[in-house]
Symmetry: C2
């Protein structure tokens, strides 16, 4: 789990949005993520691949869907970073609204 890889994985709006959605632990298919985040299918799939390579999420095939969710057992160092980033992002969105 490389910090620099983690940071570049998070520094893209669609990916950060996906992490925000997945961070509560729930499972979400690509089709849901793409509609919620307003991304095309290939874009969404590729972004999820990057998050997966970074080690932030895992995927599971469920019939014709692929369900993504927050990776379990993430090192606390990493969890702290993502938590802090999401807190700041949420605060930022609130102030922008």
């Amino acid at each position: 789990m490389d910090v620099l890889t983690l940071l570049s994985a998070l520094s893209e709006p669609t990916r950060l949005g996906a992490i925000r959605l997945l961070w509560d632990g729930g499972e979400h298919c690509v089709c849901e993520l793409m509609t919620v985040l307003g991304a095309t299918q290939s874009r969404m799939s590729r972004h999820m691949g990057i998050l997966k390579v970074a080690g932030l999420v895992t995927d599971r095939r469920d019939a014709q869907w692929v369900r993504y969710r927050r990776a379990p057992n993430l090192p606390p160092d990493i969890t702290r970073i993502v938590d802090a980033v999401l807190a700041a992002a949420n605060a930022q969105e609130r102030s922008a609204a």
Copy 2:
């Protein structure tokens, strides 16, 4: 202070190294940073410019030097992110050694 800008600013090894050096609050000139981090002059200057635009550092002209330091009065949300990133980076470096 945009979270995405912050994340991309941090997701480059030389810049992350610079932040690590500056984060204790001390002032450091470009010439020092470039020797410590092993960067050329123009590279170092540009990277510091990016950190400055991101709002993470401020600079001050002192004779022929430009002294950079951690930006004062950063929002707590932002400080928490950088602190978490540096903690993870330090832990990572220790385990790599």
